[in-house]
């Protein structure tokens, strides 16, 4: 599972990354989380708001933070 967090360093983006790492830990999944901060890369995903969560090249979430609970549910179903 390849996870990307799209964001340019604002507190929301950092919080999403933090929650995502925690969710992975809870689920016991080993996955790579990549932070995408370059504009050219971000716009490839067609999202309108940050932060955004991309799992295996599919945009799952954009424009808000999700808490650890929501992320664990989300990632569990992606396995």
């Amino acid at each position: 599972m390849k996870i990307k967090i799209l964001g340019m360093g604002c507190p929301n983006c950092l919080q999403l990354e933090k929650n995502a790492r925690e969710a992975l830990q809870v689920l016991g999944i080993e996955a790579v989380i990549e932070k995408v901060t370059q504009v050219q890369e971000i716009i490839k995903y067609n999202v309108l708001q940050m932060p955004a969560l991309v799992v295996d090249e599919q945009v799952c979430l954009s424009g808000r933070i999700a808490d650890v609970e929501e992320l664990t549910d989300l990632l569990k179903n992606k396995k």
Binding site: V39, I42, V47, Q49, G63
Partner: protein, 318 residues
């Protein structure tokens, strides 16, 4: 009414001297704090519900499709008002809108109102300033968006948008089928609204605390000497101070209201508020990545002038 109750508790139960500075501060903090939190919870929930049915992809698709003979500026301004704003979203939003074919001026109308008008700002303003002034603020913000967007479109500055965006012709994310109201939706929205409240409340209370201190301890008329209507340049100075500042509505508004009580003219205060909340250095730095100096300066310039005009007008007629 709440204020009287709080006063009574402060004086009778806590033994505070009525009218004392501490009692005034405490009263402000509790009365206004409570009113604001209730309004905030209500507005956050309603707006989250609204946004559930009008997600931004739908707004973008709508703006791209219909131009309604120029009313699209009004629509963009309204859509911006209901959309929450984070400076880091300005780029993907800007690119996404342009890529979908939405004109530059219309996109800017959205970008102008989005940070200015949001449920937190409105809740705070109703709680602290009352309906009338809040209505003035909202209308002023919308006019700012419409006028600003229109002016930018007339200046034909499309050539200052970074090359890698133009003609990108992004496919709109497919609009989802219409969402129905259901208990599950309400629960989901309530949860999201609660999350927002948890995040925002500490900052709101901090702002109300500072406001309470100003309310109780700053002598009336002190500020009038420096920023009263005698100083013709007060409004542009307020705007110049506010523009680079990065603070959100919930930090600025609770501080502004007691200042107005203490003698700062309403127009000057509103101008400062709009400049602080509506424009910021981080937003400029973000946009700089996708638009060039002439357009960026024009954007900031037009909005600053507009806010100053609003400030002078309110001072003159209020």
């Amino acid at each position: 009414m709440v204020q009287e109750l709080v006063s009574w508790i402060a004086v009778t139960v806590l033994g505070l001297e009525p009218g004392s500075r501490f009692e005034q501060s405490l009263n402000f903090f509790i009365t206004d704090g409570m009113t604001i939190l209730v309004l905030l919870a209500l507005m956050t929930f309603l707006m989250s519900l609204l946004r559930f049915y009008l997600p931004i992809e739908k707004l973008r698709n709508f703006l791209a499709k219909y131009n309604w003979w120029g009313a699209d500026y009004l629509l963009a301004a309204l859509f911006g008002a209901i959309t929450p704003f984070c400076s880091c979203s300005s780029i993907p939003l800007f690119i996404g809108f342009l890529g979908a074919g939405i004109p530059l001026g219309v996109t800017f109308a959205f970008l102008i109102t989005s940070p200015l008008i949001n449920e937190v700002a409105v809740a705070l303003m109703i709680g602290l300033f009352g309906w009338k002034i809040t209505a003035i603020y909202v209308v002023a913000g919308l006019l700012m968006g419409i006028a600003g967007g229109y002016i930018i479109s007339r200046l034909k500055m499309e050539r200052f948008v970074a090359g890698f965006i133009q003609g990108k012709g992004q496919d709109g994310t497919a609009a989802e089928p219409a969402r129905k109201i259901s208990k599950a939706v309400v629960q989901l929205v309530a949860k999201e609204a609660w999350g927002i409240m948890k995040q925002v409340t500490p900052y709101v209370l901090a702002g109300v605390l500072i406001g309470a201190i100003i309310h109780g301890y700053v002598p009336r008329g002190l500020l009038e000497k420096y920023v009263g209507n005698d100083n013709v340049l007060a409004v542009p100075i307020a705007v110049a101070l506010g523009v680079p500042s990065y603070a959100s509505a919930h930090s600025v508004i609770p501080i502004i209201q007691p200042l107005v009580e203490k003698g700062v003219p309403l127009g000057t205060a509103l101008a400062f508020m709009m400049a602080t909340v509506g424009l910021s250095l981080p937003e400029a730095l973000m946009l700089k990545k996708v638009i060039r100096w002439p357009l960026l300066l024009t954007f900031f310039g037009v909005v600053s002038v507009g806010i100053s005009i609003i400030g002078y007008t309110v001072n003159a007629v209020w």
